[in-house]
């Protein structure tokens, strides 16, 4: 018996930051911090209301409840003990005591990233999984160099995640030097790893992905990566010790597809070492000391499709060379001192799907150069001098799904030029001059899922137009002019997942009553309103709620805690709290 269980593997799950929550819901400020501080193991089952739980699910649930009654699971088939383990981690019931039952269970995955109280004492049971163990995440734990000695014999390990483990140093690296099956290794924010310790990387010949983000002591260590000819992804973001000298050894990494060196000290000279990387498709140079002169080197990268040059102090000077980067699909030029002159040189980059011009000195005339970019899906124009006349040039971009016009000069009447963009899903109109009249011009955009009207002057009248946006998942209206009457229209948006109505100081408990039927809500913010403890009872029905923000209301942390403990088990983050 056994072995019939299927187990989903997420081998290359990006960085685990948004596990359990789709990336698109991370936009609201209130959600940002907690999606980056929690991670969950992938759980293979979930008991949901209305859906009949399988007998297997019920048994796992039962075991989780009575976990202290079990001494060992080692007689179970591995897939089943893995399910029990995952569920214990997911429900935060696993302790050093209950962990003991998993000794010698041949588990394949141990995802304990950001899990409380994990330390060296957990390592014995983890290592007892022996050569079955494939994937381990101990991010944010107190595991030390000594703890890593336990992993020496887990020679099948292919993925090891030790982000934010500040007690691990070069000595710990020594312990994993024999794990030559590793394909993915991550040591984010480690102050102790040095060039010397990195010498063990030369033996990890199967590495495909290496993440050393925010490691300040690794200057000079990249020479040890030279022979890693399978390495495809290297993350060195915010390693401000990295210089041009460190780029030279990378020139031999022929498989490299993704290189992130944002906020390093790399200059144009360092970039010239990358010229031979024929497979390099993603290059992140955000905040580096590079100029347009590096574009000559970049033009020699035939696979380059995704380039981030934001915050690089680029000027129009030399921007002509952008016209050579014809394969670019994603280009970020945000926060540079570039003008419409530079946009002229982007005219031929018709493969572009995403262009970020946040806070650049561009205006209406420059946008004429984008009129032919029929592939463009995402356009960021926040904090630019773009106004209504510029939108005219964008009216034919039929693929456009996302546009950010916050803090631009765009007026209510100018928005009419957007009404033909039928692919549009995400629209940011966080700008003071936008009013109800502007919304009235957008009612044809029925596919909208995200609408940000944070600082726009929307009143109850304007909310009537919102009813056209039936697919809306995320909505922000924080201009201070809404009353409970306007919320009546908002409650009809049954697909809503994120709702931010903060700063509307006239909203009362009635608002909570009105939205109690929007049961899909995951995040709700009604800060700076007249909501009181008495209104909280209306939130009982919002079982999916994970984030609740009611700052500057007559609501106490204790009352929210009570609500959470009885009715809202999924609530992870709440304010006040």
């Amino acid at each position: 018996m056994g072995g019939a269980c299927s187990r989903k593997q997420e081998r290359d799950s990006e960085d685990g930051l948004t596990r359990g929550l789709s990336r698109r819901y991370c936009k609201c400020g209130s959600l940002k911090w907690w999606t980056s501080s929690f991670s969950y193991p992938s759980v293979d089952f979930r008991i949901q209301k209305g859906e009949c739980p399988s007998l297997l699910d019920l048994c796992i649930q039962k075991i989780t409840e009575d976990i202290e009654k079990y001494d060992t699971f080692s007689m179970l088939p591995r897939d089943i003990s893995q399910l029990i383990f995952n569920n214990l981690v997911y429900s935060r019931q696993l302790t050093i005591g209950s962990l003991e039952a998993f000794r010698d269970c041949a588990l394949q995955d141990v995802y304990l990233g950001e899990y409380d109280d994990v330390n060296d004492n957990w390592m014995g049971v983890i290592s007892s999984q022996g050569s079955s163990l494939l994937s381990v995440d101990l991010s944010g734990s107190d595991v030390t160099d000594f703890g890593l000695t336990y992993l020496k014999d887990c020679d099948s390990l292919i993925s090891l995640n030790l982000n934010y483990c500040d007690q691990i140093s070069d000595c710990g690296l020594e312990c994993i030097s024999g794990l030559s099956n590793l394909t993915s290794l991550s040591f984010r924010r480690n102050d102790s790893i040095s060039a010397q310790g990195m010498s063990i990387f030369s033996g990890l010949v199967n590495l495909v992905k290496l993440d050393l983000e925010r490691c300040p002591g690794i200057h000079g260590g990249l020479v040890h990566l030279r022979g890693l000819n399978k390495l495809e992804s290297l993350n060195l973001k915010w390693c401000n010790c990295i210089t041009d000298y460190d780029m030279k050894p990378l020139s031999e990494l022929a498989s490299l597809k993704s290189l992130e060196i944002s906020s390093s000290k790399v200059t144009d000279f360092g970039i010239s070492f990358l010229k031979g990387l024929l497979k390099l498709s993603l290059l992140n140079l955000e905040g580096c000391f590079v100029t347009a002169a590096c574009l000559s080197s970049l033009a020699e990268l035939p696979a380059l499709s995704n380039l981030n040059l934001s915050r690089c102090n680029l000027s129009d000077n030399g921007c002509k060379k952008f016209s050579r980067l014809k394969n670019l699909k994603v280009l970020n030029l945000g926060f540079n001192v570039i003008t419409d002159t530079c946009l002229f040189h982007l005219k031929g980059l018709t493969q572009l799907e995403s262009l970020n011009l946040d806070s650049c000195k561009i205006g209406d005339e420059g946008l004429v150069n984008l009129a032919g970019h029929k592939q463009l899906k995402c356009l960021e124009l926040s904090d630019t001098e773009v106004g209504s006349n510029g939108l005219h040039h964008l009216s034919g971009l039929s693929s456009l799904q996302k546009i950010n016009l916050s803090f631009t000069m765009v007026s209510d009447s100018g928005l009419r030029k957007l009404c033909g963009l039928s692919s549009l899903k995400s629209l940011n109109l966080d700008a003071y001059q936008i009013t109800d009249a502007g919304l009235a011009n957008l009612t044809s955009l029925t596919g909208l899922t995200d609408l940000d009207l944070f600082g726009a002057r929307i009143t109850d009248i304007g909310t009537n137009y919102l009813r056209k946006f039936k697919d809306l998942k995320s909505l922000e209206i924080c201009g201070g002019r809404l009353t409970d009457a306007g919320v009546k229209n908002i409650r009809e948006l049954s697909s809503l997942v994120c709702l931010n109505l903060s700063q509307n100081s006239d909203l009362t408990d009635k608002t909570l009553e009105l939205i109690s039927g929007v049961t899909g809500l995951i995040s709700l913010n009604v800060s700076n309103s007249r909501i009181t403890n008495a209104g909280l009872q209306h939130l009982k029905t919002l079982k999916n709620l994970r984030s609740l923000t009611l700052e500057s209301c007559k609501v106490t942390a204790n009352d929210i805690k009570k609500l959470k403990s009885i009715y809202l088990p999924n609530l992870l983050s709440f304010r006040p709290g």
């Binding site: 018996m1 019939a4 009949c52 007998l55 297997l56 019920l58 048994c59 009575d66 699971f73 179970l76």
Partner: protein, 98 residues
């Protein structure tokens, strides 16, 4: 109950449980046994033997089948599981895709 609408599930000890086919088919494994053309023995006789599932566990599983049908028809009650059965029951549930 017509014979062709039922199926006989036989435990390791030889105990026989006659249950509605509809209920037994809650198990994906039994469903496949009774419908796939390859396994005609089970199909012809409407009998499935489980040499690795004890009587106690098989009885519990049959209860689950009916509980599942009730749940599907809108009656959402709790399904009780005795702690001492859990591990064995889970292995059987895994085998039966239930």
């Amino acid at each position: 109950m017509r014979k062709e609408d039922t199926v006989k599930l036989i435990s390791a000890e030889g105990f026989e449980f006659v249950v509605d086919k509809e209920a037994a088919m809650v198990s994906q494994t039994i469903h496949n046994m009774l419908t796939s053309p390859g396994s005609f023995a089970e199909r012809q006789h409407g009998e499935v033997t489980f040499p690795e599932i004890s009587t106690t566990i098989l009885e519990k599983i049959c209860q689950y089948f009916y509980w599942h049908l009730q749940f599907a028809s809108g009656k959402e009650t709790e399904f009780p599981i005795e702690p001492e059965l859990t591990l064995e029951l889970m292995m059987a549930a895994n085998y039966l895709h239930t």
